[in-house]
Symmetry: C2
Amino acid sequence: MKIKGIGGEFGLIERIKKNVRLFSKDVILGIGDDSAVLKYGKKYLLLKTDMLVQDVHFSLKHSTPEQIGARAIEQNVSDIASMGGLPKYALVSLALPKNTEVDFVDRLYRGINKKSGKYKISVVGGDLSQSSKVVVGIFLAGFVENKYLALRSGARISDLVFCSGDAGKSAVGLELLKNNKKGKSIKKHLEPCARLDLARKLAKIGINSMIDISDGIASEIGHICHESKVGAVIYADKIPMSKNTINDAKKLNKNPLDFALYGGEDFELVFTADKSKLKQLKKYDVKVIGKIVDKKYGIKLVKNNKEFRLKSGFDHFK
Amino acid sequence: MKIKGIGGEFGLIERIKKNVRLFSKDVILGIGDDSAVLKYGKKYLLLKTDMLVQDVHFSLKHSTPEQIGARAIEQNVSDIASMGGLPKYALVSLALPKNTEVDFVDRLYRGINKKSGKYKISVVGGDLSQSSKVVVGIFLAGFVENKYLALRSGARISDLVFCSGDAGKSAVGLELLKNNKKGKSIKKHLEPCARLDLARKLAKIGINSMIDISDGIASEIGHICHESKVGAVIYADKIPMSKNTINDAKKLNKNPLDFALYGGEDFELVFTADKSKLKQLKKYDVKVIGKIVDKKYGIKLVKNNKEFRLKSGFDHFK
């Protein structure tokens, strides 16, 4: 049977999760969130890895080496951020074609070092090997104070659902590239930014659950609901989108909402918090997009006063 | 300029090392040993990553999925072992062709889980993505008590140089496979084992430097000498090799010593210790193969009473 036959990427993750064994009581959270959470002293150790593969996550035709290196760091930082934590150490695993130019590696590392500097991450190791395509694997270790830890599983019924910044920009940018069209969203796709500062502020205010947008709002809401055993109602007209995203979607004759819901890699944050936090949260770059309800109601999208079942987002194996 | 123009893999690592910045006083050791060493509480945190790439590190023609998964863990454990530490947590980064069978992933994880169980490593996360070739990246976090930390840089003049087990077996096995020949070394290549138990015992006895054999004894001695700023004399006739290795090398009309010196992935240990430890060390599966001398003498191989300069081992980009 192919991977898509067991529900694609997420079906496979569930299958893997069932078969791995944990040998330590220090594992607070293993497979199933943006980062692993391990008890160690007064803080939690967070471990995260994400790999970028040439012609899957990036194309050498569209991305500069600097952009690839920068994105590899941003993407992993985003997953430490969404736990409420701060990244501290990175390992870089590079697989490169044998005839790679030193200049390419220099420029890739310029991107890695620029972003590591921005986030005060020390690059402390890595691995070099050969391959037919460029692969950049980043391993990030970070820390979070126990009280600031934000999980996918903490959403409670009647929580408000929030989205940071604006959604859909990276996905519409990618679609422009694929269609040889121009637009401001392209830069958003090639140079995404994690919301580390914002995530830390949210964690300190006290939110109930958080995740970063890797595969689209629909998929992320699905993860929060699955892990928290709740349902959700999302209001289509509340989902924040920039004018550029809307304009660029028009160029493609597509509904911008589809990019926000089902396109990924925005690295914005989706989170839930008690209503009592609304006043404090309003000071930041976040918008209410829905609410958490009982699991029996499922996950609904309200659009033009009609209710729809919210489908999930991008999947590598579907 | 191509990577081989700046000295290949190790030239590139030196170049990368010069350009990364460290932002934390907790970094005891960044790029330049088998694992990164980070101060954290009463122990050191060790971080390690190593990637296996299809048709570079393994062939689906020769290795079963179980063997690939098992080897990915063993290879990374070996690098935690050679620091004197114990592995604790693993993340698994998998890139797979879109049409991969679920059975392949199940079997790959059977290998990963078997070895994780053997070493009591909790698999706490990972990443799944698509690619044209199978890539297995392992990120391992482990710990070592401060007093047991073993570095490449600790060798002292007049130290004895030791090698564990027997060398060359994996490299000769690979060469048999490439030449469609049979022999017991093939299993050694497909199913290498880290020497974690032994490494811990050595660390507790008190050795001065240690490294695992990834690229051949010559290369590993080179790393120890470089990092410790010393020279070494290695005696060819003292290098331990099994009868199988010698027999299998004969089938290839090659000198078995070349496999031990310049072939890698044995995951045996090369280490140095003060002469006073010799009696204690003799109880274990280790042999004296040489001694550490002043840097000015360089790194020499003594063979048939003649001295040769020791060349380095395998390089991905040469």
